[in-house]
Symmetry: C2
Subunit: 239 residues, 2 copies
């Protein structure tokens, strides 16, 4: 059976963002990304700095490690990256989870289609705004959303750092009416260990984002969220 | 047309808790409650202290006020209390909202059934744990959930202050499998204006609650959330 490049397996913890914010979950983080976002908070998945930590694991080996960590204290696994949509082998992992009665969440920027996307319970598509330095492949995203719309398992999440990002988010929301839409405050300082200053800064930016959305009639059917794991644990990894 | 006793109309702002946390919404707060929770954060709705602010308003008058405040910048209204489930006239209000294309959320402790509950989009049932000093009417809650389960519009939310509350939450979750279940950190200090100290205390309690739930196999399919409006605005009213 095919293997997946895995960088982290941890939990149980809470999902800190997006459509199932607060959900008790385990995390599997895969290595590799086709993007290079300027503010990437998991650059170690693609910049070579954690190369020696990447393990090629079968779905069974991943499952065994999840059970060793979580015992019977979980029923939900989040697959994150990097961009897990680069990996065809996610199909086998998700199938295995299904046989174990485990629900699955997955986050990707939406730059690649994978047939297994229809089998994910909570799929977050997070196209990247201008501040990332990346360009959105709208034709790919169109086709992903077209295929997932009838299933109802997908949401859109846009991370916002500035005005241009907000305008981009408005355009994405208008383009994909009918898909649950989340605005998220960007974390501009992914390395600080000053938890108090970070919380303060994030809450100030969150309030700014709320204020922007409140007065925009194009942003009515939206949800605006902070990253709650960052508020609780700061930039610590593996929680 | 029948009138409703209204204490506050405000927004647009975000929903700070529960199943649609982060959602852009307007608020209509009704007066009156059949409970007297020890830690009630809206005691002014029933303790007489805001008696002079209660207005008897028709659904049309409420709508006019919402539009005066929110213009075209909202498509969702949250009805809170007190206990809005004391009021049969909520039926007319929700019907009016439907004709305007407005979605509705409502929160109640679940001590009374109302036929209009089936018409609410996001209904939060928040039975009160032991620390409140109240006793749950489980026969009433059973019957409410039985009627709403096929509609899929309801969630359960239990506010947690201590160990006994947590045990109560486990029992509620086990009793009502299949209803989305939210744990929420209780705000033990609803009067302080020291925002920094409040945030710190709430985050400490939130981490405690997360830790409890993570090691409990009966608490797998749960979502654990803080009140984000309290993190942003503290105990301020009308935001
Ligand atoms: S798409 Fe995600 S993982 Fe890839 S560079 Fe951007 S933020 Fe980082
Ligand atoms: S049920 Fe709600 S409004 Fe009524 S006393 Fe309890 S907390 Fe306050």
């Amino acid at each position: 059976m095919s293997k997946l490049p895995v960088l982290e397996i941890f939990g149980p913890t809470i999902q800190g963002e997006g459509m199932v914010i607060g959900r008790k979950t385990m995390f599997v983080r895969t290595a590799g990304c086709d993007y290079r976002c300027s503010w990437c908070d998991s650059a170690f998945t693609w910049d070579g700095s954690a190369k020696q930590d990447i393990r090629q694991l079968t779905p069974e080996a991943i499952w065994e490690e999840l059970v060793a960590l979580g015992g019977d204290c979980f029923d939900h696994v989040t697959i994150s990256g990097g961009n897990p949509a680069l990996l065809a082998a996610v199909a086998d992992l998700v199938q295995l989870f299904k046989t174990k009665g485990i629900k699955t969440a997955l986050e990707t920027q939406g730059s690649r289609w994978q047939p297994w996307m229809t089998a994910i319970d909570d799929l977050t598509l997070s196209p990247k705004p201008p501040s990332s330095g990346m360009k959105t492949h709208f034709s790919v995203l169109d086709s992903i959303i077209e295929q997932l719309l009838p299933i109802g398992n997908a949401s859109l999440k846009v991370v916002i750092f500035d005005e241009a990002d907000f305008d981009y988010a408005v355009a994405v929301h208008e383009r994909y009416k009918g898909i649950p839409f989340f605005l998220q405050v960007g974390n501009a300082d992914t390395t600080t260990t000053n938890q108090e200053a970070l919380t303060k800064q994030l809450m100030t930016r969150y309030e700014w984002l709320i204020d922007k959305a409140m007065v925009d009639p194009k942003m009515n059917d939206v949800r605006i969220l902070p990253q709650i794991h960052t508020l609780v644990w700061g930039n610590k990894r593996g929680v």
